[in-house]
Amino acid sequence: MSSGRYFFNLGYRFISSFGLAVATFVLLLIITYLGTVAQIEIGLLKAQQVYFESWFFIEDFAYFKNNMESLEWLQGKAYPKLLLPGGKLLLVVLFFNLLIGGIIRLRRKWHKPGLIISHFSIVVLLVGSFVEYRKADRGNLKLDPKQTADYFTSYYDWDIEITKAGAGPGDEALVIPYEQINYLEGDLSRTFRSDKLPFDVQVSNYVINSQPNRATASPGAGPAAKGYYLEVGEEQKEAEMNVGGCKVSLLKPGTSEPLDEGILWGLANAPMTAEVGGQQFLVTMVRRIWPLPFAVRLDQFEFDLHPMTRMAREYTSTISQIEDGAEKTVIITMNEPMRDEGYVLYQSGYGPDNAQPGDPNAYTVLAVADNPADYIPMISCIMVGIGLLIHFAQMMVQSIGGRARNESPAAAAAAATKSAAGSSPPMPGAAAPSATLPTDAPDPAP
């Protein structure tokens, strides 16, 4: 046998082994725990990025450091730093482990259909989650009474958009995405260009949670442009509470000669206007905008509180869906979203904070998701339920049957022999479960 083939087989056996599956489960368990308690310190979005959407991460046990003060013997102790596999890596490993070990290697065991079905459904679920992770856009849409909208906006991503003054529907906006600017803190700067612009855009001083103020209010507190600077606010754990801001300088193309400068702020009332070459351009920072393939108009928004409480009982938006001139009434309420053309619109909230039931100015907030994998979890759920039911039912029948056999010493001996044929040696007490287990369970890692 060639050594290549040997190593191939070794790798194949490793990737499909029970050992890898168990190790993955245990590691997932650990990082899920760490990622859960870490949310107290760093908030959901950060924890999600650090623990679950990463290949690797370094755990510094910040939560334990900050919450175990009552235990004196832990005070001042140095906590270890651990390099751990991130959720992304573990799920990818799990995917291949399942695919090869749980389906391909199991495929000849048609007498165990339940196992194959449930493994397959988890593979489907993982694929669905992957598609969702890579492809889904999530945001929300605030609708005032009678307002129409055909777009939704992101919770976290602050893009810079550049348009010509007077640009309207159908015109183009240039977008400098959040991912390219969100780390340009302090003096870090970066220049963006386009043939469509008579200037380059230099972005710097990005502030994750910012608040503009007059430079006179606190001279020298930050780089000012036109008398304003950005105050650096505390980064909020609820990432959607942060309001991005940055400084932009418009440069003569290809040079560092400034033409204009200004402060961009996510919640500004209006864009920055720059006049270059006799034409006005609007530069603005906005929550990322995604178009909807249809328009929605809020016809009526009703919400109801439990009497004499501030606890919501129900909230319902009556929406007109407008597409190609045709209107259709749709009702969106808690737990009953609207699904159309791959988009899902959910009832998410309302405002303003002090709104009372019946308030004519109350607005609705709809969460919007564009998720191509929306239906996959449901299919997977049904499949995994059926699969496990079949399997455990089968096991139970066998177990009761096995039990009946085990009553006689001969049967016990038979079971022991059967078990010995597998990986583990006969072992007191293990006979009953082994009788129901796949007898060809692979060896633990050699």
């Binding site: 777009y151 003054a165 159908g170 015109d171 500004a268």
Partner: protein, 229 residues
């Protein structure tokens, strides 16, 4: 050792490796300092709110302009959002928490006129007018009599104006001053009640009656106080 031999295995493993490679392609950050081409564009949708050009930074960031100094001939209160015309011959006196504007007039400053403000309805128009009447030793008037009162322009509205002559006994005073005259205008706005009250010897008040009306008519609200957002 029984190693797997069948064909599908040989093909499955590279396949899965290829999948792994695909999954592994993540996005990496571009280095800082480069000039980057803007590649992303977006078509503005039909219902997006239009973006206004030409906004100043003050407007963009919700800072109103600093409050401009009052136009010539006008005076304004430091904190309360009111301003008024400076009246010739009236001497501005120290205001108080109660009195937004406070003046004296007359040869020896015998007459006084002030503008004051109470939150809410302050007990209602009639009750207040009757209180004033009582200070001038007059009988209370009835609701129906309100219509017969004269008016003066105050904050752009016609405010009922009391005009009585008689012995004046101010709050806390024991002796009534004879032959006094009182002009009092009162405006009940939803949030507050505005009083303008002039008292003084009848002859001096008579000289200042027009000025009283002029003062009332000039009172205006400064819309914003500036500074904050």
């Amino acid at each position: 050792m029984n190693l797997p031999q069948s064909n599908w295995r040989t093909s499955a493993f590279p396949l899965t490796l290829a999948c792994a490679a695909l999954l592994g392609t993540g996005c990496s950050r571009d280095p800082v300092g480069d000039v980057v081409e803007i590649t992303k564009t977006r078509t503005i949708t039909q219902y997006e709110p239009a973006r206004a050009a030409g906004a100043t930074d003050d407007e963009r960031f919700g800072f109103s302009r600093p409050v401009p100094p009052p136009p010539p001939g006008m005076a304004q209160h430091a904190a309360a959002p009111f301003r008024w015309k400076v009246i010739d011959g009236w001497t501005a006196q120290e205001g108080s928490q109660m009195r937004v504007a406070n003046f004296s007039f007359g040869p020896n400053g015998e007459g006084e006129c002030y503008l004051s403000l109470l939150p809410g309805s302050a007990g209602g128009v009639l009750a207040n007018l009757n209180r004033w009447r009582a200070q001038m030793g007059q009988e209370p008037m009835a609701e129906e009599d309100l219509a017969s009162l004269g008016t003066t322009k105050l904050l752009g509205a016609d405010a009922p104006m009391l005009d009585v002559t008689g012995p004046f006994k101010g709050m806390g005073e024991t002796e009534a001053k004879p032959d006094y005259r009182m002009l009092g205008a009162l405006l009940g706005a939803p949030e507050f009640t505005l009083f303008v009250k002039m008292t003084g010897p009848a002859n001096i008040v008579a000289e200042n009656e027009e000025k009283f009306r002029e003062f009332c008519a000039s009172v205006e609200i400064t819309s914003s106080r500036g500074g904050g957002q």
